[in-house]
Every structure is written in C-alpha cells, then in structure tokens.
C-alpha cells in the first residue's frame, strides 16, 4: 500500500521544500520507492534543490492537462534508483491544479511508488489545499516562533476538515506530525525563540523530529543535493532520524545533535 504524505506549513520559507527533498531522499536511501511532487505551481523550486532543474522537459501541469504522459514528466534521480521527481510548471498558476487531475496523477503514481511526497506551497489557498487533499499523512513543518506555530495550527485545522479523509464518511483522519526545523538552541536560551515543549503544547500533535539550524542545509541546496545525500551534518542526521520515525521506528529525540535525556522522556510521554 503506498502512502501519500504532504509536507505543509501555512507560513512560507520555513523549510518545506528542504524537508520534502531530504525526506524523499532518505526514504529512497532506505530502499523505498519514492516520488516527490512539487505543488508550488509558478515557483518551481524542488527540482533545483533536487539538482535536476536542467532535465525538466514536461511537468506536473502538462500531465494534468493531458499534454504529456506521466512517464515523460517523471525525472529519475541519478544518485538513487528508487527516487523520482515530478517537477511543476514555472509559467502556469495554481488554478491549473484540478482536483480530478491531481487525483488521476496520484492514482497512477501509486502503482509504482511506496511513498508519494507532496511539497506544498505556502499559504492556505488552492495550491496548498490541493497538495493536502488526498494525503494519508502530513508533516507540518514549523519554525519555533509564534507566527509559524500559529500558521501550523491553522493548517492542522484544514487537514482535519478540508481533505478527502475528512470528508469521507468513516475514514481515518490524516495522521499529522510536526517537524520543527531551523531549531537554534542558542536563540531559544536567549528567549528569542520558542522551546520545543511550547510548540508541542500548542499544536498538540506528535513530534516527528527536530532539525537544527545548519549552514549545511544552504550549502547542500546550492549544490542541488538533498541534505541527507551530502556530507554528514547535524541537519542530515536529524532528517535521517525523522525518516526512521516516519517508517515507524523508535528513535530517540536529539536536539542539535546532542542527546537530552530529560527532555526526551518528557516528549515521549506527551506524544506516545
């Protein structure tokens, strides 16, 4: 059974595309057949972070509109056999995403892939709603600051009300988990950012992982390499841990690469 996972946030620039790239590469590395779709129509970004922007011929919108076959638009990753990217269009807008079109593409992808990762645009408009509509699970990307958390909360409400699983009688609700990114312990200690506990207290959903603020992220994306395929870094191993949890493994929660046993037992107490 394949799983559709949306990576969403409400607020822009919090790390959705970085996360989509890292999680999909991490899943593929573990042997899962994975495809990552760019739903941010008009602001093509994912293919750059995945390092395949010069191989884009056809895109997601071409497939939805019947101008290209899915096989023509899928870009197979050169580093990992199991990984493919479905890029989006830079010239169209989000109205080109139709519910029927999205459903048809997802159904076709389900025949080949174990995991379908949907990189959502920011906001709560059509593009974001389309990216989440057919999801089975959600990764809500949040930075530890008030406006990001508030937007994530809003998105959690939409996941619970404006999706296929919400509308379908008797369906399990979407399983949503929060991924805290750009975590910066120094700024938290200075009181400039929220603590992990405060974030979880408000969002009241399980924690998938904590990704530290790290220059490795920017460097990797400038080179078009998902951070988990680049040289080892604290951010890369935090993403690897998040992937392990996503597939159901129990991995201890670390902050900034360090173990924090006190916090961890408390977090698991809350999210188990």
């Amino acid at each position: 059974m394949s799983k559709i996972i949306v990576v969403t946030s409400g607020k822009g620039g919090v790390g959705k595309t970085t996360t989509s790239a890292a999680i999909s590469a991490g899943l593929a590395k573990r042997g899962h057949k994975t495809v990552v779709i760019d739903f941010d129509v008009g602001l093509r970004n994912l293919d750059m972070i995945m390092g395949c922007e010069r191989r884009v011929v056809f895109d997601f919108i071409n497939v939805i509109q019947g101008d290209a076959k899915l096989k023509q638009a899928l870009i197979r990753d050169k580093r990992l056999d199991n990984l493919a990217v479905l890029p989006t269009s830079q010239t169209r807008d989000k109205d080109a995403l139709t519910q029927e079109g999205v459903e048809a593409v997802l159904n076709e992808l389900k025949e080949e892939f174990d995991y379908i990762i949907c990189d959502s645009p920011a906001g709560i408009e059509r593009g974001a709603l389309m990216a989440m509509y057919y999801a089975d699970e959600a990764i809500v990307v949040t930075n530890p600051e008030v406006s990001s958390v508030r937007d994530s909360d809003r998105v959690l409400g939409l996941l619970q009300s404006k999706t296929h699983r919400a509308e379908e009688e008797g369906a399990e609700p979407i399983k949503a988990q929060v991924l805290i990114t750009r975590h910066d312990q120094a700024r938290i200690d200075k009181g400039e950012m929220m603590t992990v506990e405060d974030v979880l207290e408000i969002l009241a959903v399980p924690l998938l992982g904590i990704i530290p603020e790290s220059p490795a992220v920017l460097r990797a994306s400038n080179m078009g390499v998902p951070v988990v395929l680049d040289d080892p870094s604290a951010a890369a191993s935090a993403y690897e841990d998040a992937v392990a949890r996503l597939v159901g493994e129990q991995v201890e929660m670390k902050i900034g690469g360090e173990r924090r046993p006190g916090l961890i037992s408390r977090l698991f107490g809350r999210t188990a």
Binding site: I124, R150, D153, G157
Partner: protein, 248 residues
C-alpha cells in the same frame, strides 16, 4: 473565593455615571433571496406558503433582502413595494445584501442598510423543525467537540451549550447560545450567551483566552487579570460586569 469585579478604565474615569454601554451582538437574520425579477402574485403566494409552514421561524424575524439574483430589481418605488409587502407579513426587513450601487442607494432611501459581512447558513428542513420545537421548550441542544479547535476555526452551538474536550487555539472562536465548557487550555475567543442569555457562563480548565464574552459584554486578554491565567476558572455576568473567578 475571590470575586473579580475589576473596572475597566473607561468606567473608572466616569466614576458613577455611565451614559451608555456598548455591547457586541450576534443574532441570526433570515435572508430572502428573490430569484426572479418578476414580483407578481405567484412570488407572494410562494412566500405565504413558506410562512404558513414555519410561522415561528419567521415571526418578526430580522430579514435581509439578498439581491444577488435580481440586479434589475431597483428603483426606490419597486423596493418600497417589496418592503411594505414583507412588513405586512410580520417580517422585519432591515438591510440588503449583494446589492448593486443603484440598489444600495434605493435601499438607503428606505432606511435599509447595506450588509457586506456575515455568512449564510442553509435553512434546512430539519432546522426549521428544530426552530419550532425550541418554542415548545424542548431541552436545549448541547454540542460536544472532542478534537482540538484550531486557529481559524469557528465552532457554533446555535441552540445550547458547547463543550470542547481539548485545546482551543489562539485565533479560534467558540460561540454558543448557552454555556461554554472547555476541558483544556482556552487560548482563542469564547462567546457564550450569544443570543443574549445573561445567565450563560464560560468555564475552562486553563484560561489564556484572547477574548471572553457573555451576552455581548466582553473582556480581552489585556483586561483579563493575569492572576487568573493558567487556572481553572469560570466567567459570568454580575451587575452588568463580566467577572472571572477561579474554581476551587
């Protein structure tokens, strides 16, 4: 038990005379949406039919004329005839909605206001039933929510109490005709007694609310004394004041 009768700044300045009070009001209005520009016999026959079916629902009901489907229905005289016919039927038209510029002008000549906010709720058959039952004094209906209420969501208990088991986020809104009970932190807005019931109360196991209101009298987080924050509290009206009290 400390009873909290903090005065707001305005009241303190005015010492003991207070010329007026401002209250927020929520109420339900009926909207009538003509779908043909022909206001002939058959239109009023159909209207009378509807009124006969559900008399209590419409008796003296505040009514909005929704003109979206009838842009051609304009001119003060045409509108006046419409308004008068509605008043004869014990309806209380007070505003227009989705009106063109010309319609807005004609409406304001007749003392009708132009309404640009608000949400439509369909008048379902079962809803009409409920409205009639309410008059026959069936117990008010309680609405129970067992999921977190998130920022941007509104939960309305139109006829009775609202119970939320779980957190209510900042930016979320709870509205109830009766009491509001929150078993969890209340960080959003809670408006009890939304139809004017001054005996309604708000209860929560942790008060971090942005706004509390009862029958339209409200206090915002700024004027909710911090000592009640993070505590098990109730809010109620006493002598026209919104009081907050910790629960033992």
């Amino acid at each position: 038990m400390p009873s909290n009768d903090t005065k707001d700044r305005g009241a303190r300045a005015a010492a003991d005379i207070r010329p007026f009070q401002i209250r927020g009001r929520f109420f339900t209005a009926v909207s009538l949406r003509p779908e043909s520009e022909q206001q002939d016999e058959s239109f009023f026959e159909a209207l009378d039919d509807q009124l006969r079916q559900t008399p209590q629902f419409f008796a003296n009901a505040p009514l909005i004329l929704d003109l979206e489907q009838v842009p051609g229905l304009n001119g003060t005289e045409v509108l006046r005839r419409m308004v008068e016919t509605l008043k004869q039927r014990n309806l209380a038209p007070f505003g227009v909605q989705n009106a063109s510029g010309e319609q807005v002008r004609a409406a304001s000549d007749l003392g009708l206001i132009n309404i640009t906010t608000g949400q439509d709720a369909p008048l379902k058959a079962e809803r009409r039933q409920k409205a009639i039952k309410a008059v026959r004094q069936t117990p008010a209906k309680t609405k129970t929510i067992t999921l977190p209420v998130r920022s941007g969501q509104t939960v309305i208990a139109d006829e009775g109490d609202l119970i939320v088991i779980g957190p209510v986020s900042s930016g979320a809104e709870l509205i109830a005709a009766g009491n509001i009970h929150v078993y969890g932190p209340l960080r959003g807005r809670a408006m009890a007694g939304a139809h004017g019931d001054e005996t309604a109360r708000v209860f929560c196991t942790r008060l971090e609310a942005e706004l509390l209101a009862i029958a339209g009298l409200y206090r915002t987080s700024e004027s909710l004394a911090p000592e009640y924050g993070l505590q098990n509290v109730q809010a109620f009206l006493k002598n026209e004041r919104l009081c907050v009290e910790t629960l033992g």
